[in-house]
């Protein structure tokens, strides 16, 4: 790495500095657009006691589900954790702490974290278990709760294409939480399918500027499909 060149060539280098008990913010929705090789690297490193914020916790044997196998996650911040038997078992036994967070609030917590906004009011969750213990304030006759921003020691994310400055383009619904996750990480690590020369991406077509990206690596992806639904011709 030199200057604005963010490219690293090994996953070991990509996740260098990750230590026990850190907070990791992960992009992805289900298994779509997840940083699958960065997750595997965290598994290989055996880092423990992690707090992980991600919309979902993977499934058994894939995605963040891999980190549950060796009990590397201490606390999970997610909106939906179904389809994962190991997760449920560890949650029920109390080994895994879970903060269920509404999907839009989770996205906004990451966005705010990356944008220097410490907290925000939202109507989402008012009067529900999510709102318990949180400040309530009325604006224009409607009740809102105060939600705090979320930042991570690391962000791990996946994009489709990048130039070596870390300017990113996402693909279809694999974008999801990835842009906000990246902005909220002190060290933002992004894996992509293709890295092009600087100047090859149209500046108007860049979804997330490289200023948010610290490390960039080219990977190959399995892209597991959770629910393959088709229609007949």
């Amino acid at each position: 790495m030199s200057g604005f060149d963010k490219v690293v060539t090994s996953y070991e280098e990509a996740m260098a500095g990750l230590e026990d008990n850190m907070t990791v913010i992960a992009g992805g929705f289900g298994l779509c657009g997840i940083p699958e090789n960065l997750i595997k690297e965290i598994k290989r490193r055996g880092t423990k006691g992690l707090t992980v914020a991600s919309n979902n916790a993977g499934v058994d044997g894939a995605g963040l589900g891999l980190l549950l196998e060796d009990k590397q996650i201490k606390k999970m911040i997610a909106s939906y954790v179904g389809e994962n038997a190991l997760f449920e078992a560890q949650m029920m036994s109390g080994e895994l702490e879970v903060a269920l967070t509404p999907q839009g609030t989770l996205a906004e917590k990451m966005r705010a974290g990356g944008a220097g906004i410490p907290a925000f009011y939202t109507a989402t969750g008012y009067g529900t278990p999510v709102g318990e213990g949180k400040e309530v304030r009325e604006f224009n006759g409607k009740q809102y709760i105060l939600e705090e921003a979320l930042c991570g020691d690391f962000a791990i994310a996946k994009a489709w294409k990048a130039d070596c400055y870390g300017n990113l383009v996402f693909r279809k619904t694999a974008r999801n939480f990835n842009p906000m996750a990246i902005t909220a990480g002190k060290i933002a690590v992004v894996e992509v399918e293709e890295i092009v020369e600087v100047g090859q991406l149209d500046p108007d077509e860049i979804h997330l500027p490289g200023i948010y990206v610290n490390r960039l690596i080219k990977g190959t992806f399995e892209k597991t499909i959770e629910q393959r639904t088709v229609r007949s011709a």
Partner: protein
């Protein structure tokens, strides 16, 4: 007769209007997309970051990067757009989605909804449901009127943890279409062949029965 899943979906689709942006929850709400009236343009929003969701793909079109909020592979219609989760929920919370349809375990006559958690049994999470009910003005809840053992799910007060407080104004069950106003359910339509007595008997919350309660027409 209680409505079938297909009839519920058909009745939901009668609420669509030309030019509506609609978010359909998983299950019966999703089926409503099959009954969009001919000649009407409705654009489906999927909260994982897609506006203009199309049908399931042909086998050779399957793309792991293109899924809906239920993690099913889908397609895009012409004129579709793609965006982040933060942008998606800005649309939802900001009230830009014209109609939201989602399921529930319980609804009460204060407009409260419980749909995400059965303590000790089912802990999967709320996904986007809390944002959807808090942000949308025009919501239809689709659900069965009572449990298999005959326990009403239209209550004076929800017993399960809430997904949203005071935000539901319209409920479609397999027996009836009801509005919620001033702390009471108001019976608007009944499923074909279902009597008012049957609906009253299976509605625990306060219920107003107007003089004329027409049967649903399909």
């Amino acid at each position: 007769m209680a409505l079938t899943r297909e009839q519920l979906a058909q009745r939901v689709a009668q609420e669509f209007q030309d030019g509506y942006y609609v978010n359909l929850g998983i299950g019966i709400p999703t089926l409503a997309a099959n009954y969009i009236p001919g000649g009407m343009q409705v654009m489906l929003q999927s909260e994982n970051g897609l506006l203009g969701m199309g049908p399931f793909p042909l086998d050779e079109e399957v793309d792991p990067d293109l899924i809906n909020a239920g993690k099913q592979t889908v397609t895009m219609i012409e004129g579709a757009s793609l965006f982040s989760s933060a942008e998606s929920f800005a649309m939802i919370r900001g009230g830009h989605v014209d109609l939201t349809v989602l399921g529930a375990f319980e609804v009460d006559c204060q407009g409260n909804i419980a749909s995400y958690m059965i303590p000790g049994k089912l802990i999967k999470g709320m996904g986007g449901a809390m944002d959807l009910v808090a942000g949308a003005d025009n919501i239809i809840v689709t659900m069965t009127h009572a449990s298999k053992s005959g326990q009403s799910k239209l209550l004076s007060e929800c017993t399960l943890p809430l997904t949203g407080k005071g935000c539901i104004k319209r409920v479609l069950t397999d027996l009836a279409l009801m509005d919620i106003e001033g702390g009471k359910f108001i019976l608007r339509e009944r499923a074909p062949g279902v009597t008012i007595e049957e609906i009253v008997g299976l509605t625990e919350g306060a219920l107003i029965v107007p003089d004329d309660v027409p049967e649903m027409v399909f």
